[in-house]
């Protein structure tokens, strides 16, 4: 029994591999998946997704999207697919760009605290930076 994880972005398959557990945040709250989880389709928030393997842990920046847990196959393997416009592994993140984006978003929010563009930009930048810290 294992968990087959696939991170799929529109331009390519960002990651695919086995894991013990996957933790992510749907719009209804945090949720963790282990092998044998009930089939589920969830809408993801902009939040880091944790993929915990046998002896390693990986964090990926996921900016909205979906998680689909399909029914276990005959061997009891559960497939998890995360579909997202942006799936960034730590090594694909540009630190400086994320920092400047964060500063810019914060500056924009100072002048207009309700700017939705700046709010989501800040969210994205923070997710990127937290993924970098975790790696």
């Amino acid at each position: 029994m294992s968990l087959q994880v696939e991170l799929v972005s529109p331009e390519r398959v960002a990651y695919s591999g086995d894991a013990k557990m996957v933790v992510c945040r749907t719009t209804a709250g945090d949720i963790a998946f282990q092998p044998g989880h009930i089939p589920l389709i969830g809408v993801l928030q902009t939040h880091p997704v944790k993929i915990i393997g046998e002896d390693s842990e990986m964090t990926v920046a996921v900016h909205e999207g979906f998680v689909e847990v399909s029914a276990p196959d005959a061997d009891g393997n559960t497939r998890i697919t995360i579909l997202s416009d942006v799936c960034e592994l730590a090594d694909a993140i540009d630190v400086d760009r994320a920092r400047t984006a964060k500063e810019r978003a914060e500056a924009a929010l100072l002048s207009d605290p309700n700017d939705p563009g700046a709010q989501s930009a800040l969210e994205r930048a923070e997710v990127r930076l937290s993924v970098l810290e975790a790696s």
């Binding site: 696939e6 799929v8 972005s9 529109p10 331009e11 390519r12 398959v13 749907t26 719009t27 209804a28 949720i31 009930i38 089939p39 589920l40 389709i41 969830g42 809408v43 909205e64 999207g65 979906f66 689909e68 399909s70 029914a71 697919t81 579909l83 416009d85």
Partner: protein, 330 residues
């Protein structure tokens, strides 16, 4: 001294050779780009497949399939046509064939006294339709040869808006389907409303036992899923179109290079012939002139040529040749 005609031909060969260099370079560039575009189209496939699967699972899981993007129409009143072609030409019939296909749809809508809305992707279709005074609802340019997902998202956003709020009951999409390197086909597909019956029916009862759970709810998942599905389909069409563009350009430029080679060969033959003619004419003139001189003097031994060569015309006639030598030594 080359004649006027020869000089003109030489200049033409030069210009054809320059053109050939350019077309050869474009051919090679297109060849590498088509490989890249194919790879991108290939890499984008999993996302589109997965998202279709999720929608089918969603339908199988018993989610309410009721969404503006799925709203079916009996008789469309206003038809949206999305045309995807290139920003640049020199790609054979790539642009014109997809533009023609789109124009046919617009004409059909017009003759059926329906309204139409045109969305163009790429500079060529925009210029074409603007020149012919078609009304263009939205145009996108600058990314036809290397579309990114965010480009696709922009197009998809505009197109969905046109369908949901812009009064279009049906959206058609005209693009070039990439079949293989050697064959691409301009197609017109119905794009919106999404074929809910098809999408839902295929997943119908296969997954009914799967019993999916939804977070937060089926309707909410569908709500955020369908726009992504639209984006993924637009993106797939854009990538197909880009790969086709490069393949068409490669073929067009290969043909142009071959043509240039043929032309150079022909012109070289022509130039040789012209040169040969010029030489022949010159010889004829010299001989004519010499004969005229000879006729004047009435004595062949007074030919100028005799002074230039010690033995200009070896003769079999021994007596005569001795006579010439004797004349020379004099």
């Amino acid at each position: 001294m080359p004649g006027a005609q020869e000089r003109v031909l030489r200049r033409r060969i030069g210009s054809v050779q320059n053109t050939k260099k350019i077309t050869r370079a474009m051919e090679l560039i297109a060849a590498t780009r088509v490989a890249k575009a194919q790879l991108r189209a290939h890499e984008a496939r999993p996302y589109a497949e997965h998202i279709t699967n999720v929608i089918q699972d969603l339908a199988a899981g018993g989610a309410q399939v009721d969404h503006p993007l799925l709203r079916p129409v009996e008789i469309p009143e206003k038809i949206g046509v999305v045309v995807m072609a290139a920003d640049r030409g020199l790609a054979g019939s790539f642009n014109s064939s997809v533009i023609k296909a789109a124009e046919r749809e617009v004409q059909a809508a017009r003759s059926g006294s329906k309204q139409y809305a045109l969305v163009t992707v790429g500079s060529k279709p925009a210029d074409y339709f603007r020149f012919r005074n078609y009304e263009i609802e939205a145009e996108f340019r600058g990314f036809s040869d290397k579309p990114t997902f965010s480009d696709a998202a922009r197009v998809a956003g505009r197109v969905s808006d046109l369908f949901v709020n812009g009064g279009c009951d049906q959206i058609l999409i005209a693009y070039t389907r990439f079949i293989s390197l050697g064959s691409q086909e301009p197609v017109v597909r119905r794009f919106l409303p999404l074929e809910s019956t098809e999408v839902v029916a295929t997943g119908g009862d296969a997954g009914a036992t799967a019993g999916f759970e939804f977070e937060p709810s089926g309707a909410a998942v569908l709500e955020s899923l369908l726009p992504r599905y639209v984006e993924a389909r637009i993106f797939a069409a854009l990538l197909d179109s880009a790969a086709s563009e490069h393949a068409s350009r490669q073929r067009a430029m290969k043909a142009a290079t071959d043509n240039a080679e043929d032309l150079i060969l022909k012109l070289t033959r022509k130039i040789n012939q012209v040169r040969q003619d010029a030489i022949t004419t010159e010889i004829m003139e010299i001989i004519g002139g010499a004969e005229a001189l000879a006729d004047d003097r009435g004595d062949p031994e007074d030919l100028l040529l005799d002074h230039m060569f010690s033995d200009p015309f070896p003769r079999h006639d021994g007596e005569h040749s001795r006579h010439v030598i004797g004349h020379d030594s004099f």
